[in-house]
Amino acid sequence: MITRLANYLDNLKNCLRLSSEAKKDMLREFYAHLEDRSQELQESGFSEEEAAEMAVKHFGPVKSIAQQTYEIYSSGTWRQAFFAALPHLIISLLFALRAWQNIIWLIIVLLMVIGVVIYGWWHGKPVWLFPWLGYYLIPVIVTGVLLIYLPSNWFLFAALIYLPLALFVLVSVTKQTITQDWLYASVMLLPVPIILGWTLALSLSRDFLSIHRQIQEMASWVALSFLILAVTVATFIRVKQRWLKVSALLAPSLVVLILVAIVSKGTINFWLWLGLASLSIFLILSPAWLERKITNS
């Protein structure tokens, strides 16, 4: 293939935000078109390089084509929106129906998450997979919060081991998910600060009986926060424009964190809330930076 055409198709490949299968199909179609145009120009007397240059010029700017293609595929169906919102809806129901303490329900949910993630991962990572994938990170968060219960001399030692490991897991999973679009990694990371917020609100009390009573009291609010997350994810799937998708993730997560702070009755003070809000913004936007870094390297 002529270098000019190869470079052009490489640029398109980097700019197209589609599933790997759809992207492959689209690029194959673009290549066929460029090949036809280039061949026709060569037959009319142009050199191979000139023909390639003109074919690319006729085809149009990469960013414009990628943008138009994105707007066609960016809006998911209602079915995809429902499947994407489902993990948050399930967690919401667990708390709304006070089923969070029923071990059978918890095992069913856990098996469901594992099953769905394995199925989605091996079926081309569809858009609805990413919110489910986020729940794979819960053990990492919970482990971090449990460090609080360690004796103070062990805490520092454990934190030194935990932090790089947690960061490694977080970055590895995020890197795997941003190959298609960094926004999918943002959707995956969306519940992390909220789960962290609720866990902190509860875990700052060291009495187990008190924690149990607090969960009972907060259950409806926890259910509401996950219901908001479900609506957020469904909106994210349905809207077309990229800036709307980013806004759909940012605004509700900050609102939910305000809710967590209010319900925690002072356990989450302003500074802790600010930390969680900053973490939320960082987790939603940092995949963009990571994607750029990966593309450039």
Binding site: M26, H33, R37, H58, S64, I65
Partner: protein, 111 residues
Amino acid sequence: MNYERELLKGNTDALLLCLISHTPMYGYQIIKEIERRSKGYFQFKEGTLYPALHRLERAGLVRGEWQTLPNSQERRYYFITEKGKQVLAERLSIWQDFSTAVNAIIQPIST
């Protein structure tokens, strides 16, 4: 120029459906056919054709299928669907009524 672009934008779906309804075609063939029939009147970046075709496919108005040409090259042919035929018939009917009404207004009144 903007007016022409807007007119073309508003009628892209009908034009594409109309071309494909006669015979299934692949992208480059569609471009050549548009050039030939419009005698070069419609000028646009060729790459923008594909988002339009894929939009029609997502709406269920056309169906894309890879086929091998006699020279063993593969091309993605677009076929009009039953839904596409219905939409095309509706659009053509609206276009006929619209152009008749516009012509009736812009023609000088004969006394």
